[in-house]
């Protein structure tokens, strides 16, 4: 849409001025009121009438084709349904009842850290992932990555056979080659043998590596991951003299300060932190206190978006601010002479000091060690240690002080000719190693290199051997969570593709075991280390509950070495005229490992709502200074290295800074992920992984289209988002209901609901915009992806979308996330316009969509004020056999020409209703949990029976904060919202 739009930032500012900062807006085009934007709004489905606009089809040809289609469509009805086969078991396994899904506890591992999950299995096919309520890192919720990992399991582009220099090899040939290579190593004690892994917390893998290093004493183990916790580890070493793992207890924190951290959405324990944080945040139910969040950030994050006070600064300025806060908190560090934001910092420091023991400072992974060390010192000075923050032994098996250093050593040894055998267990260093190391070039000179990975990726192409790795849902393993809790990972399905399926098996082969099995390896480790007399019970209990009881690391008493911290030299001050750049892991494809996952590629990234690409994010002021427009391609140069990508103007981004995301520009990711976006590793070096200063930025004159969804499904203002400060809420609890126009009278008779009346409530105070619900819904309801071109045409299919609203100035707007699903209106406008009654009401108040009746007029969508209906313009659902295995058998797979939308997970309601009916009872409150509700880390979504006065949902609907969208249309939506309450500091001048 914005292809030819020229945005005039100055004019937009003027528009905002005249709005007096009281209205919410969604995108710059809306403010600029460009011609294209008006056109876009006017035509609800843009380009729908002009699908053929790029074809040469004439009128006659079109009529001919339509005539033939009509005739053939008639004949179509003459086909008989093909015979369906039933294939029973030969011998029925225990516990399996056809038609009744089972659930198994295991864990999802990212960056080495585990999150407990329960996986639903339909007749041996894992189909859906839910959080494990008993696991401390999950408590029943998940993040978007975890939800989407089920799709990676079935990815048809996964590596399927061993490759020897790019040609198909066999397992036997590999084993032969491996044993030959190891023969030579035995004599030399492993000289020249190197193992490269990602971050390892797996106790079994750690044990195997230790045994391998004993067998080959001259071998070395390296770890590297592009999104590593190097800075956190080094910060801990400075502060405590040793590496520890930091844990936060946000359920006890009243004041939270984030130093460039996205602790609510990314990193170990994020799901748990979001839950704890939200518990302190929700005020519904008459609470009059809530926590307060300050965020200092150098690139817009979800944490900053929901913060009460947000300070947007350049990456290198965070340390200086931290120093001033530390000074205020009583840590006698050297502080810069002068600085801005005096009132802001003063209010923050005062708040921290009055909340000693109930405040917490959380440093981000992207900030240098000094910031981490200072944060530890501040937390100790404030008496927070042991209350809101605690420390434990490092969760990593062998915490490398610096993984970048570890990789650098490996590369320099390769260059010195000291390495002739390299085994890479997971990871994709050829793609994501720092540019200055030229890992790919070095790898080529290793005589025998092995890569074990899910995909035949960039690294696989450079190695002598590539082995297809089993997905974590296909093999046995173990891993630890952020607090050390161990989970034994169990497989849900036999590996789809043959090979040496896991890192455990490959290491065991190297240790000389013939035909090792992951199951035996993991079980044997725990037999030796469980410390339990009755191992069989231990094993079964651990598998059943999804965690090893008592394995959580106890907290350790450590003292900050104040001398060392206080004498840290200040970081380099970056002159104001230098342009700086922040690297960040991508919010949806992370470091590129999920690049071939269509659900994640098409997931609108929080804040930018960008899909399928990465972009160069700049602030409106910086865009104005360099005369940049959205989608104009610019070249960024740093130390002789260059990247080029399209610009995206991001309100709230710090000035004189750009943000770029990792994970794109892959060349061998697969059909979904290859050749998308640009590879920022080209300028990312090992000494500056997260921010650089002094980059050059030059316009190229080219344009590159970006599929952003922020202007899709726009409801055009109309008081959709309501929010107030805590003080305003206490003074006037019914603020959300004020200025609500009264509903128009209806000509239709009222519906009556004497049984269940399902309803949903979404708490805007708790929503962090993390997107977990969107992917959960996609997995549960067989929602297809449509591809970048279709997203550009406004045809994404997500049943739940997260609208992101801005309020206030262009440079530092307030941000509100609002998840929007079908409202299940009692007086649904869609129903009255459907000519074939394909969308109707059921007796429990659900607005149901009957796919087999739908003829695709799209009148319903036209008449929906909430823009929540999605149409299958093309045949989006795929017949790919492995992807078909992921489909939820309880939900119809829709075909072309059919309208669809949120069903309130009617299949889950049906299942609960049938069970309750069989037992002759009512459905209990909390028995029906929708997919979005289950996934939500902050428990912002509540679902239930409004007719039951004791239900959670009925109480929330009666809360003064409850309000509905567009209720003046008398739609009587069943989904309503709890207005957002923020808790800004009372001090004037601090409203950031």
């Amino acid at each position: 849409m914005s292809n030819n739009t020229q945005l005039d930032i100055r004019q937009i500012r003027a528009t905002l001025q005249s709005k007096q900062g009281s209205e919410y807006w969604r995108c710059l085009e809306e403010l600029a009121e460009t011609e294209e934007f008006r056109e876009f709004l006017h035509r609800e489905f843009p380009r729908e009438a002009s699908v053929w606009d790029d074809s040469s089809m004439g009128r006659r040809q079109f009529l001919m084709l339509m005539g033939a289609s009509l005739a053939l469509a008639g004949l179509n009805a003459c086909t008989k349904q093909p015979d369906e086969k039933i294939i029973p078991f030969v011998r029925s396994p225990e516990f399996v009842t056809p038609g009744v899904p089972l659930s198994f506890a295991t864990a999802m591992v990212q960056g080495g850290f585990a999150t407990g999950i329960l996986v639903t299995s339909h007749m041996g096919r894992p189909t859906k992932i839910e959080g494990n309520p008993d696991h401390p890192a999950s408590l029943g919720a998940t993040d978007a990555f975890t939800q989407a990992s089920i799709l990676s399991l079935y990815d048809p582009d996964r590596s399927q056979v061993p490759l020897n220099r790019g040609l198909i090899g066999t397992r036997d040939k590999f084993l032969q080659a491996l044993s030959q290579a190891l023969q030579a190593k035995k004599a030399s004690g492993g000289a020249g043998l190197r193992i490269l892994t990602e971050t390892v917390t797996s106790p079994t893998l750690g044990d195997q590596l230790a045994r391998l290093l004993r067998q080959f004493p001259r071998a070395r183990w390296h770890q590297y991951e592009p999104v590593s916790m190097d800075y956190a580890r080094e910060g801990a070493r400075i502060a405590f003299g040793r590496i520890v793992t930091t844990r936060y207890h946000l359920d006890k924190a009243d004041v939270v300060l984030s130093l460039d951290s996205d602790f609510l959405t990314h990193g170990p324990g994020a799901v748990r932190y979001a839950r704890d944080f939200a518990q302190k945040r929700k005020v519904a139910g008459g609470k009059q206190t809530m926590n307060r969040l300050y965020s200092i950030e150098s690139s817009p994050t979800n944490v900053g978006a929901i913060a009460d006070h947000r300070l947007s600064v350049r990456p290198h300025d965070v340390e200086a601010l931290t120093r001033r806060i530390a000074r205020g908190a009583g840590v006698l560090v050297e502080t810069p002479q002068s600085g801005n934001h005096d009132t802001w910092l003063a209010a923050l420091v005062q708040d921290l000091r009055t909340h000693q023991g109930s405040s917490v400072v959380i440093p981000g992974l992207y900030q240098p060690p000094a910031v981490h060390a200072l944060a530890h010192a501040i937390n100790e000075r404030l008496g927070n240690v042991g209350k809101t923050v605690s420390y434990s032994e490092p969760v990593e098996i062998q915490p490398e002080q610096s993984q970048a250093e570890s990789l650098r050593k490996l590369v320099s040894d390769i260059r010195d000719g000291q390495v002739d055998m390299l085994v890479i267990l997971g990871g994709n260093p050829v793609y994501d190693a720092p540019a200055d190391l030229d890992f790919g070039g070095a790898l080529a000179s290793v005589a025998f290199s092995v890569h074990l990975g899910l995909y035949a990726d960039e690294t696989a192409a450079e190695c002598t051997w590539h082995l297809p790795q089993a997905h974590s849902l296909e093999t046995w393993s173990d891993a630890r969570a952020y607090d050390g809790t161990a989970t034994i990972l169990q497989p849900l399905i036999t590996p789809l593709y043959a090979g040496v399926s896991s890192d455990h098996e490959l290491l065991e082969l190297m240790l000389g075991t013939a035909e090792p099995k992951s199951y035996d390896i993991v079980r044997e480790f725990w037999r030796r280390h469980s410390g339990s007399r009755d191992f069989e019970t231990f094993w079964r209990t651990s598998l059943n509950s999804g965690l090893v009881a008592g394995s959580t690391f106890p907290s350790r008493n450590v003292r900050v070495r104040m001398q060392e911290v206080q004498s840290l030299p200040p970081g380099r001050a970056v002159p104001g005229d230098e342009l700086s750049l922040a690297f960040r892991p991508d919010p949806t494809v992370w470091d590129g490992r999920y690049a071939n996952n269509g659900w994640l590629q098409e997931l609108p990234k929080p804040l930018t709502t960008l899909t399928w690409d990465n972009a160069i994010l700049v602030s409106p002021a910086t865009a104005g200074r360099f005369d940049l427009q959205n989608e104009s391609v610019v070249e960024i140069a740093y130390n002789g290295r260059k990247i080029a990508g399209p610009v995206w103007i991001t309100p709230g981004h710090p000035d004189q800074t750009v943000t770029v995301h990792l994970g794109y520009g892959r060349t061998k990711a697969g059909r979904i992920g290859s050749k998308r976006g640009f590879n920022v590793h080209a300028i990312r070096t090992s000494d500056a992984p997260w921010s650089i200063a002094g980059i050059g930025l030059a316009k190229t004159g080219a344009k590159s289209r970006l599929a952003v969804t922020q202007h899709h499904h726009l409801m055009e203002g109309r008081n959709l988002v309501r929010s107030a400060s805590l003080a305003e809420y206490v003074a006037n609890p019914v603020f959300a209901k004020e200025h609500q126009p009264s509903a128009q009278p209806s000509l239709y008779p009222e519906h009556e609901y004497d049984g269940y009346a399902w309803g949903m409530s979404i708490d805007l105070s708790a929503c962090t915009g993390c997107n977990a619900c969107v992917v959960a819904c996609q997995a549960e309801n067989n929602i297809p992806i449509v591809g970048k071109d279709q997203v550009l045409a406004g045809r994404e299919m997500h049943w739940i979308r997260i609208d992101r609203y801005y309020k206030g100035s262009l440079d530092d707007p307030e941000v509100v996330f609002q998840p929007v699903t079908c409202m299940h209106c009692e007086n649904a406008p869609c129903e009255v316009v459907c000519p074939v009654a394909a969308t109707v009401h059921d007796s429990e108040g659900l607005n149901v969509m009957v796919y087999n009746r739908c003829i695709g007029t799209r009148y319903c969508s036209n008449n929906c004020p909430y823009k929540v209906r999605r149409f299958n313009f093309l045949q989006y659902s795929t017949d790919e056999p492995t992807l078909a295995m992921q489909k939820n058998p309880e939900v119809t797979v829709r075909s072309r020409g059919v309208m669809e939308k949120c069903s309130y997970c009617v299949q889950r309601i049906s299942a609960a209703r049938i069970e309750a009916k069989k037992e002759g009872r009512e459905i209990r409150d909390g028995e029906v949990v929708t997919a979005c509700q289950a996934a939500c880390p902050s428990q912002a979504i509540v679902f239930g029976n409004i007719n039951d006065p004791d239900s959670r949902i009925a109480k929330l609907k009666a809360d003064p904060l409850d309000y509905g969208l567009l209720t003046e249309l008398n739609t009587k939506p069943r989904t309503s919202y709890l207005a957002r309450v923020t808790n800004p500091h009372q001090e004037p001048g601090t409203s950031a």
């Binding site: 349904q81 015979d83 056809p98 038609g99 059921d842 309880e890 069903s903 299949q907 049938i914």
Partner: protein
């Protein structure tokens, strides 16, 4: 001339009516609906022999009918409980023995096949007093199995709109050739089993 034109109008209407009649006959014929057409199976299994002849209960083989959506098709080992002892050399059962020996499952042709957008749950029907016979007909008299009902939506709705006409006491669901004891029994049972009749014709009851 007038006669010809009149006759042609009448003829046209007749032909049209004939076409409609032919079309609807084909649509409702056993050829299309499968009603009354015995299906060939890998083993000529006779419900008649096993149910009326030997008195084996439906649940002996269709084990999950009271607890799951799918009634269940017996694993090979269920067949072998008897057929390892009796008729254990019968050529008719060679496929069963092969399956048990090789571990390769038997493949049956589904007789009652609903469209994929329709979700039927056996357990709730059986638990609420809908007999096997009500939908599947006199299976105890079928040497090979066939459909006795069209499985059209209109057929489903006959019962979903007026379950009192078809319901029977729970204890009788597996009984064949059951007859209601009185005119009021159906209504009483609908009340007793707490069946929300109004809800049964909601689209979302079967489609999702």
């Amino acid at each position: 001339m007038k006669v010809v034109s009149r006759a042609s109008i009448v003829a046209f209407l007749l032909v049209l009516a004939l076409l409609v009649w032919v079309g609807s006959s084909i649509y409702r014929a056993g050829y299309t609906t499968g009603v009354g057409v015995p299906r060939e199976q890998p083993i000529p299994f006779s419900h008649e022999h096993h149910v009326s002849g030997l008195g084996i209960s439906c649940e002996y083989c269709h084990v999950s009918v009271t607890e799951a959506s799918f009634a269940g098709i017996p694993p090979t080992y269920t067949c072998m409980t008897c057929h390892s002892q009796i008729w254990n050399t019968s050529p008719m059962l060679a496929a069963v023995r092969t399956s048990a020996a090789t571990g390769k499952p038997l493949t049956w042709i589904r007789v009652h096949d609903l469209p994929d957008f329709t979700y039927f749950n056996h357990s709730i029907h059986v638990n609420k007093g809908i007999g096997c016979e009500t939908c599947h007909g006199p299976v105890d008299k079928m040497p090979l199995t066939w459909r006795v009902n069209t499985l059209f939506m209109s057929w489903c709705l006959e019962c979903h709109r007026a379950p009192e006409k078809f319901i029977r006491p729970r204890e009788e669901v597996f009984t064949m050739d059951w007859k209601p004891s009185g005119a009021e029994e159906g209504k009483d049972l609908v009340k007793k089993y707490g069946i929300a009749v109004k809800q049964l014709s909601d689209c979302s009851i079967c489609h999702r």
